[in-house]
Amino acid sequence: MGKTVSSMLRAFAHLSDEAVVALVARSDHDALAELYDRFGRVAYGLALRVLRDESLAEDAVQEAFLQAWRSADKFMPERAKAGTWLLTLVHRRAVDLVRREERRRGEPLEAAGEHAGDGPVDEQAWLRYQRERVQAALRRLPDQQREALELAYYGGFSQSELAERLGQPVGTIKSRMFSGLARLRELLEEPTEGERTWEPTPSTT
């Protein structure tokens, strides 16, 4: 998922994300650098979104990558994509930190677009494509499910905090998160607009 044109030009270009993690498990530093080049930016963006603090976000990303370095041998490619595994580590770190810091969370991040245009063009294009795809899928969720997912994932709230914040029983929150995530999974599997253009337009007559 994290492949970009510039990463393809390098020595590891032909390797899948999973193969890169397999090399990381054999203590290959270059493979770790490659993993960072593929996922560092999205990892940092995620950590920053949850933590709203640049230095804490750096800490979360650093700890997650070092955890990946130490535990890559436990990664099971038959269980998860490498990107999912890594971003799960990043999210967990960020959430643990935000709860420890008791920072206020969940409000929209200001000036988020300020730097979004920096970095290699291919990476920007890739991330923008992904972002629009995910945001489009989120927009198609029922409001309550979207709200639960966004507060949970980006806000780092625990399910009991969510229940309190949304004035609903924990059971309701749980089921909104489950339905929302299951629906999001379906929506993300659907072909996107661009991929659908070849389809014949249904006749209206």
Binding site: R41, Y44, A116, L127, V134, Y153, F178
Partner: protein, 229 residues
């Protein structure tokens, strides 16, 4: 928490909305429930996709170097099963003891924290109790240190134990005038693997570790770790 309730925590877990106690309960359940493992794999992918939903500014350039430097500074995360000890055995034992003591201090400090439920599982508490016991005896042999309390409770600390080959586990033994008694199976935990022993360690006994296909009642392979009290 009942099993039914645990099945329904998969999405909450994938989104990291469980507190640490719930998280551990769910992980224990996950180890036994194939259905939940499959569902988690699929929901986690959707959750991780959310990471791509935010605008991501480039991280500061120094972050990349810092991560790579730290990784280089850490010992290789996978070592051959027969490590080449670069330091003399005694120095290694001292280093391992120092590490064990640092860990014991850390572990015992946990019990003072309000959130100790969060930080320590029953096993960690057991380990902490052994390592921090007054008058506990520390004996080392190469990369391994055996800690035995006055009452005979033992814990083995192994530095840089490589992961067991696929399909194998490590099994600890306590040998005291006769057939070794099984003292529990374990996996490598990276830099320091700490194993609370399920057998008392009498004075003069030797603690052994073998590689086995599964938990067995008597060793089927030659011990590759031996530490005598």
């Amino acid at each position: 928490m009942g099993t039914d309730a645990l099945h329904h925590l998969t999405a909450a877990y994938a989104l990291d909305t469980l507190d640490s106690v719930e998280r551990r309960e769910y992980e224990a359940h996950l180890a036994r429930c194939e259905r939940c493992r499959a569902e988690l794999a699929s929901l986690s992918e959707a959750a991780a996709a959310l990471a791509y939903g935010v605008e991501a500014p480039p991280p500061p350039p120094q972050l990349r170097e810092r991560i790579l430097d730290r990784a280089r500074a850490e010992r290789a995360n996978v070592v051959p099963l027969r490590p080449r000890w670069a330091l003399p055995a005694a120095a290694m034992a001292v280093a391992a003891v120092a590490a064990a003591i640092a860990l014991a201090i850390w572990a015992s400090s946990l019990s003072n924290k309000v959130d100790r439920l969060q930080a320590s599982s029953a096993k960690q508490e057991q380990i902490a109790a052994i390592l921090a016991a007054p008058g506990a005896q520390y004996v080392g042999n190469r990369g391994s240190v055996l800690v035995v309390t006055r009452s005979g409770l033992g814990a083995l600390v192994v530095r840089e134990l490589g992961p067991a080959r696929k399909g194998l586990v490590y099994e600890a033994w306590v040998a005291d005038h006769g057939k070794p008694k099984p003292a529990g199976t374990f996996q490598s935990k990276g830099l320091l693997t700490i194993v609370p022993l399920k057998q008392a360690v009498p004075k003069g006994a030797t603690v052994l570790v073998t590689r086995e296909k599964r938990r067995v009642d008597s060793p089927t392979t030659t011990p590759f770790i031996r530490v005598s009290t």
